[in-house]
Subunit: 291 residues, 2 copies
């Protein structure tokens, strides 16, 4: 067990409140005053989660977008965010990007904290949302017989990252400014049996959903949407790359999604492998493991 | 204007939501589903907010306690917290201390995020609470004629810090494990005209309350409670040292506080100086400025 896994296990042991499925499931779900609140907190570290040369305006956008994606996976409507920010010599571009992103998503900045650090810039964002349907979707509800769906292609952010890193001039928007699927999440929430956002790679997140639900998820590689023009030798990489922030969800077999989406597989009774890709357990990396 | 002041001013311009007095006033205050939620987020950086040699269990305690102190200043009842944590080689003591503190204050851990960093450890905590009375106290309500009060001495954390730094063996508990005034905050909230916690120094925080309220606050140095045995030459330091997390509040002149507290001054109509100490504007540092 890695230091991180051990720590998360220890935190999980501390988190005995019923709302605290958040530690395993990205968001906390909390009944307050007749509303169901959704809370999530994500951190980003310079050089780990973004390239040091990146425009801080894009970093601000991504910090907000990734947290809103967690809310989207719960079908939640954002209420507001709090920012934790380590100061740099010039904070102008970050502020501009944050302002653009807040306006774009219609989310208010409610508060936060700023500190100085001698180290790399470290950002935290807490997003608060309101559930739009109950029960709130989780990753643990997939049942044998369900179909597996995704709202869009995987690999677009990978190509964006590589364009940015190489300076090729190709479009890097998907990596720099991801679009959380808030509208789709709200439309899907009352219908899905399970839902999560794909932040760490389709294969890894599918396996997590399978493990949380106690099922096997069988993906059909021929059905998985990919960015146009992706070279065939990059397909396997795209399946394990994260950052696309599409929604992965399961539906009862007779139900069609209420928004554009791609059927990419089926839920089976739990077999020897939690995840099948074209009928066999995939080898090699499944995604971005936080260890 | 420092880089930080400029950034906070820019954030303030972004924070147009009525709940977002948080950016100037520590906490956001938000109406949700018949409840008034209080939200706060504080960060701590190794080597900036704590000594690298400190026990991580104390760091965890302080991270929780300082955020709960923000809730206390609003008279709020804690609902839960989310943790942002950068991993180290051994996270055991932090987990133990966090568990102790959560149990001590009866506050659940709801979720959070863990990341790796090549730099100093950087922690964030978001605390969510529920207001117990409305209107929720703020720092802006002090009126001429009010009396000024504090729940306990200032300078105890300073002595604790110095004991810890020097290894003298004197008691350092007040610095390492501050006690947020949650009970007092709830008792005071319906009665006070203004309230805030003293995190950055009595003089600085008094000036902030005076500025926010548009008044002058006149403190009587003979009335300010100090730790027993504080040498006279350290009194001025104690008035500008933070970390004691006592509550500073104002009451109408005919009202006595419902909990142990010390009357330390009076609120006057705004004069040339926002803050008077023994009748004159204090010179020298007022407290810990985040710049």
């Amino acid at each position: 067990m890695s230091a991180e896994s051990a720590f998360i296990a220890a935190l999980q042991a501390l988190a005995t409140h019923p709302a605290a499925r958040g530690l395993a499931d990205d968001c906390a779900v909390l009944e307050v005053g007749g509303e169901t609140l959704i809370l999530t907190h994500d951190m980003m570290v310079e050089g780990v989660h973004w390239l040091p040369a990146q425009d801080p305006a894009d970093v601000a956008w991504k910090l907000l977008a990734t947290n809103l994606s967690d809310l989207a996976s719960k079908g939640a409507e954002p209420i507001g965010v709090l920012l934790g920010y380590t100061l740099t010599a010039d904070n102008t571009r970050f502020t501009e990007g944050l302002g653009q992103a807040l306006a774009h998503f219609g989310v208010p900045l409610l508060g936060g904290d700023t500190v100085r650090t001698p180290g790399p810039q470290t950002l935290g964002l807490t997003a608060l949302g309101r559930a739009t349907c109950r029960p709130v979707p989780s990753r643990s509800g997939a049942r044998a017989g369900d179909s597996v769906w995704i709202t869009g292609p995987v690999g677009t952010a990978m190509l964006g990252f590589e364009a940015l890193q190489s300076g090729s001039g190709a479009d890097s928007t998907a990596y720099r400014r991801p679009a959380p699927r808030l509208t789709e999440g709200r439309a899907l929430a009352p219908r899905v049996t399970a839902m999560m956002d794909v932040s760490d790679g389709l294969l890894l997140d599918s396996r997590r959903m399978a493990d949380a639900s106690g099922v096997t998820i069988a993906l059909d590689p021929a059905l998985i949407p990919l960015p146009p023009g992706l070279p065939p030798e990059r397909i396997r990489d795209a399946l394990a790359w994260g950052d696309d922030y599409e929604l992965l969800f399961t539906l009862p077999p007779d139900l069609a999604p209420p928004c554009p989406a791609f059927r990419i597989g089926a839920v089976l009774n739990r077999g020897n492998a939690p995840l099948l890709l074209g009928g066999t357990a995939p080898e090699g990396p499944l995604g971005y493991e936080h260890t």
